[in-house]
Symmetry: C2
Subunit: 346 residues, 2 copies
Amino acid sequence: MSNQKLYNVAIVGTTGAVGQQIIRLLDERNFPVKELKLLASKRSAGTKVQFKDREVTIEEATPNSFEGVDIAFFSAGGDVSKELVPHAVKSGAVCIDNTSAYRMDPGTPLVVPEVNAHKIQEHKGVIANPNCSTTQMVVALKPLHDRYGISRVIVSTYQAVSGAGNRAIDEMYKQSREVLEGKSVQPDILPVGSLPVKHQIAFNAIPQIDKFWENGFTNEEMKMILETKKIMGDESIEVTATCVRIPVAFGHSESVYIELNSDFEMEEVRKLLADAPGLVLVDNPEAQQYPLATEATGKLDTYVGRLRRDLSNPRALNMWIVSDNLLKGAAWNSVQIGEYLIAEKN
Amino acid sequence: MSNQKLYNVAIVGTTGAVGQQIIRLLDERNFPVKELKLLASKRSAGTKVQFKDREVTIEEATPNSFEGVDIAFFSAGGDVSKELVPHAVKSGAVCIDNTSAYRMDPGTPLVVPEVNAHKIQEHKGVIANPNCSTTQMVVALKPLHDRYGISRVIVSTYQAVSGAGNRAIDEMYKQSREVLEGKSVQPDILPVGSLPVKHQIAFNAIPQIDKFWENGFTNEEMKMILETKKIMGDESIEVTATCVRIPVAFGHSESVYIELNSDFEMEEVRKLLADAPGLVLVDNPEAQQYPLATEATGKLDTYVGRLRRDLSNPRALNMWIVSDNLLKGAAWNSVQIGEYLIAEKN
């Protein structure tokens, strides 16, 4: 390890919910960081952050921030990525982008390492990290698609508020206190910060994440539909998604119905999922064991359970998929891509 | 109205979450009550309850409680109904049973008035009230089945804690306070009071409601599958259900995918749903309007929105159905059956 190559790493979006987790993971995973550059908006510049034995001062992210940077993690929103990623690439950095900016760009690999790590080496400076709700789902779909072929997926999500950022978590807790104290609630951020209408999230379920498309689906739902095809490398997989925000802080849960192209035995499905990388099977109805958001919080893996053959379609099965949306859904998948990237270089 | 016939009414399960709503609705709807008999377990006997201008003392429910009773509402659990309903029927009462005891009994009508009110007159002393999550769904399915025929439904639920009773609501609020105060949580009731393993409901999603069957589905899921066929009067309708408890006090939400037997126009679907009895269409994505549990609380209607044609199956559509689980899902559907019953008698 002493002769290990070290990398200059930049994080754009240091102060956000995902940026904070990326810093923590670079530390925990002993990512070989030479210089760490913490970038954020002008507002946060000057703040000091502890990273291992160093104190790093947050700098404002500008087009000139990337000189000498080897790997840049972006999670400051699509607009920031669209503006700054080209400059970072020009400076020679490989950008791992956790926004929607480049995900559907045909020339940009969209990567979940358990599914398509081989795409990482095809990058032309940018590797896109998928949307959180898609990432955890494809980890569980992959072993089934390889063995049986998947024709169709119908998914309903139970998504955590942290997916909308730290301010949304604060809002949920504040509203919860107000409801518990019998006070009235004035929603301020959710469902979508940039849209005019707000709804209470405390003790409620909001069937809107991101903006609506003209076809009646939300952008979050369309991401699940389109990104799944791209990551799995199979345009024939049909996905229907309904994305719902519920009053959970961390951990997305998903109710997923899957139609396969061939017959299957439940025991084999169970074994495939139990053996798949990054996936943990938690499925013991008798002991009331199944994945739970509270138990997935802080974990890197994706959890799957409530496995059962469909009663009306013998080639279909149902499952419940849970993962920490800030980790496998965002920061961990990004850092994991970084680990693959440097493993290839070494 | 002065010559209106009056009825001796009994409520079994007076102190429960549903029983309390039945008392309120009998009052609000001016149900023609002559004598009101409030029955409960021995523990609650002696407690006084105000009903209009009278004070009614709760009595212990026994086999002899039903003499002279015309209509008896049961919502004290399946075991109590199995024990006492036969005695009530023998005494000449018509029983409206909001437990699972008689729902799948071939000789007992299972009724949602908007769907199959004509079944009420076929009763032999007992009319069963469906499970809450089924009731609100069939109100929305009915107009589509009549027009196009429904072949298949895949539903994921977002169910309120009040469906597990008043103590479960208290538990959710208590746990929420503990999480907000940074204290540890000791689950005591949910997911299923009578089962040994408990899970935190505050800021979590629990994919278990009721016990598990050997096929891996829960009893709640099997209720949705079996009751839907019976109420709709069509064994060919295939239903797949995943039932999930979320931290909401009142109002079940449902993400529903529906395959139809024939082509359809979205405008016609919209009109059919808007015109259907007991159903309110709330579907304006541009204005971010869709049904919400918080807004359905306390209302008798079922709300439907997020309507959109499926992108991969042109004969399928997706929707979001919300209703107050204690009202249309329980107390209101029961009282509504009572209103139909006396309308027929008058």
